[in-house]
């Protein structure tokens, strides 16, 4: 025991010694000592030399309170030469902070004067990083838990490797300049300015709100995006919208890297702090509904065509030589949509297509009228072409090159464009129905009516092409089905109640408890279950078709034939009454109020 105790005592002594040693001889002391030595060799004054000789290392800090919270910046402990112009050519960390006219520094009598003095600003308000740390890992923000790494110099270990090289560069510091220099075209922040222009030009303003700039409600509020998120997250959110939120329907814009960088710098500059504005400015910006977005370049009256450019509609839509690749082609809009439809759709896209992701723009009614008037002039029908070419010109964008419903913009449409290769579906419906769909369109969806653009022969030719090229399997004779033309069950509260009970019992798994097609199974089904609150669509479907779909199912989809599960015609009649009832009231159109 005594021996063990003696040994243990010695061990503890040694460990104490190690601890003691470990806590001294910091790296910053070595940097400071090196600075004293080098400064001594640079100075000619004997008194200064003596003072430097006598100086011992200590913690240097600047405490700044003018930017909100108390900032304690200890960067000059290692970067002790930052305000010593003689060290301009030395290696870091003993390199002096550069002077430049771009930062507002001036030369007077041959000597530079700093505009942003360290005593007034500290360091972290411009550079980010962790002011209170004294080890490189912590002070530069390399520690992944620090929310503000040194802008443009440091990437954290948890950041994606493919993004890391793109996130370095002094331009990222512009995001900090914009905390005070908020003017739209401030010369010192070219990337912020460019990012702001892109924010308009790519129609981000339509979905995202930034206080004082825009008022979109479909996407998250970005007023404080720069404060909440690091640049790697912002970058990822722009280039891969679904990386962090699987349910996001933000389009993937495929922007060039320089554009993404400017956007990220612009977003990073949105920190919810603006040291240049007064509290009153801030409050006003917050409560004001920015009803009119004034993107650069627009003023006063503009023709509809110019408005389309200015309002960045082609960030998503296609028109002439601009194509956003996200929304339908507007080139024949005068033929396929009428003015009423267009105006309603402008005021609220979801009043016409309930599951549309197009934002609700709050332009003045005047602008909408002008744009509608312009679109109405797009009346030139497509030239006569073989049906394959017609398909390519008009249908491929949604229905896909292979007719499988995977067109360029298909992902963004709800309901999805029909998969024309599904023979089970295509061969279960009479040909007349398809002709009607093409000619009259499908109400409540993105499928427009093509009858003004295509002659009947053309329609039939395209349909024939589709059936042979995509559906492939030849049609078989359809067995006649016993279906009533109108609902034999009279509409009555009792019937509706019974229909509702059955609906809740059997249908909500796919169609959802709100009958909007968003049931839990809907995520795994293709095509998705029908949104039964799509009033325009439901109104366009007659009772016979409803009975057909429910009793005999929809081949080629997940809708089973309920006659096999014991549903009688009367049951189905009650269900149909229920469906009609939820689409009866004015304003029952889903999302009509938005």
């Amino acid at each position: 025991m005594r021996l063990a105790l003696a040994l243990a005592s010695f061990v503890v002594l040694i460990v104490h010694g190690v601890v003691f040693y470990d806590q001294f001889f910091h790296r910053w002391e070595r940097h400071q000592t090196a600075y004293f030595e080098q400064a001594r060799s640079l100075t000619k004054n004997e008194q200064d030399k003596a003072e430097l000789e006598a100086r011992s290392p200590r913690i240097e800090q600047t405490i700044v309170t003018s930017f909100g919270d108390t900032r304690v910046d200890r960067c000059t402990t290692c970067h002790i030469a930052s305000d010593d112009p003689r060290f301009a050519g030395h290696a870091r960390p003993l390199k002096s902070h550069p002077y430049s006219a771009a930062m507002g520094d001036v030369q007077r009598n041959g000597q530079w004067e700093r505009r942003h003095k360290f005593a007034d600003f500290g360091c972290t308000v411009c550079h980010d990083g962790q002011g209170r740390g004294l080890e490189t890992k912590f002070s530069h923000g390399e520690d992944e838990f620090w929310p503000e790494p040194l802008a443009g110099y440091v990437t954290q270990a948890t950041w994606r490797k493919d993004f890391a090289p793109k996130l370095k560069g002094k331009e990222y510091m512009e995001a900090a300049c914009a905390q005070c220099h908020t003017a739209e075209n401030f010369a010192g922040t070219p990337n912020v300015n460019r990012g702001r222009k892109l924010f308009y030009a790519m129609n981000c303003y339509g979905c995202h709100k930034i206080d004082g700039i825009s008022e979109g409600t479909l996407g998250p509020d970005l007023t404080e995006a720069g404060k909440k998120f690091k640049i790697d997250y912002l970058w990822e959110s722009v280039v891969e919208p679904r990386a962090n939120s699987a349910a996001s329907f933000m389009p993937k814009f495929n922007l060039p890297e320089a554009d993404v960088r400017s956007l990220v710098i612009f977003l990073k500059s949105r920190r919810g702090v603006n040291f240049a504005e007064t509290s009153l400015d801030r409050y006003k910006a917050h409560i004001e509904n920015v009803a009119v977005v004034i993107p650069p370049g627009t003023a006063g009256e503009k023709a509809g065509e110019q408005l389309i450019v200015d309002r960045a509609c082609t960030a998503c839509h296609k028109l002439r030589d601009h194509d956003g690749g996200i929304a339908p082609d507007l080139s024949y809009e005068g033929l396929i949509r009428d003015n009423t439809w267009l105006m309603d759709h402008f005021k609220n896209p979801r009043s016409r297509v309930p599951d549309s992701i197009m934002p609700t723009f709050r332009f003045p009614a005047d602008d909408f009228e002008r744009i509608t008037a312009y679109l109405a002039t797009l009346k030139t029908p497509p030239p006569a072409m073989p049906p394959a070419e017609t398909y390519k010109a008009l249908c491929e964008r949604c229905h896909g090159e292979k007719g499988d419903g995977e067109g360029k913009v298909a992902w963004y449409l709800d309901p999805s464009p029909r998969d024309l290769t599904k023979a089970a579906f295509m061969n279960s419906k009479p040909r007349e129905r398809f002709v009607a769909s093409i000619q009259e369109g499908v109400a409540g969806t993105s499928m427009p009516s093509w009858k003004n653009a295509l002659k009947t022969e053309q329609v039939n030719a395209v349909l024939g092409y589709v059936l042979t090229a995509f559906t492939k399997e030849p049609a078989r004779d359809l067995k006649p089905r016993n279906l009533p033309d109108t609902n034999p069950v009279a509409m009555s509260p009792a019937s509706v109640k019974h229909g509702e009970e059955m609906f809740l019992d059997r249908c909500t798994g796919c169609h959802g408890r709100k009958a909007d097609g968003k049931g839990p199974n809907s995520l795994d089904i293709n095509p998705k279950p029908r949104n039964l609150r799509n009033t325009a669509f439901v109104a366009s479907v007659n009772d016979r078709r409803l009975f057909d779909s429910v009793l005999y199912g929809v081949q080629g989809t997940a809708m089973p034939s309920w006659i096999d599960y014991g549903l009688s015609k009367n049951d189905v009649g009650d269900i149909v009454n229920f469906i009609r009832s939820i689409n009866q009231k004015k304003g029952s159109q889903q999302n009509a109020g938005l």
Partner: protein, 163 residues
């Protein structure tokens, strides 16, 4: 009469002054005492702050040109008065050495409003209850051309910085 120190339960015989025991005891004491000393010293070092949050003792006050020749400019917040005479500059404390009020500039030097202490241009006491002259702070020219005051370093009154 204490029992002879020999028990029958296989304890080793107790010989209080066995040399081995003494060595071990000594080693143990050294180890523990040394650790205690190191521990105490490190705790004392711990509670001595290396960075405080109040007003810094060393700060810059601007360029020499900001202080024209022949002026005596008092920076009340910093409790210092900058005097400049031609090319010579000095920084004199404006904290009265009596009980700590801020002295004001008078035609003959400084005067304290609290208890009437009077000082001359160089801070020497000319009247009143002040026990000591106003100290002079070290004034230096930083490499970037700014004047720097170090309130932790006092210089002899009459020591000027030449700019």
């Amino acid at each position: 009469m204490p029992v002879a120190s020999h028990d029958l339960h296989s304890h080793t015989p107790v010989e209080p002054h066995a040399p081995r025991r003494r060595v071990l005891a000594w080693l143990t004491s050294v180890g523990l005492f040394g650790s205690a000393v190191l521990s105490a010293v490190s705790n004392l070092v711990f509670i001595k702050p290396r960075a405080t949050y109040g007003q810094p003792a060393r700060f810059a006050i601007g360029k020499p040109d900001d202080f024209p020749s022949g002026t005596r400019i008092s920076l009340d917040v910093k409790r210092v008065c900058i005097v400049r005479d031609g090319g010579k500059m000095a920084a004199i404390s404006t904290t009265c050495t009596h009980l700590g009020c801020i002295v004001g500039i008078s035609d003959t030097g400084f005067a304290c409003p609290c208890h009437g202490s009077r000082f001359d241009q160089d801070g020497a006491v000319t009247g009143g209850p002040a026990p000591a002259p106003l100290p002079w702070f070290k004034l230096s020219l930083a490499p970037n051309g700014e004047l720097e005051i170090d309130k932790n370093t006092l210089v002899k009154p009459g020591t000027y910085l030449n700019v």
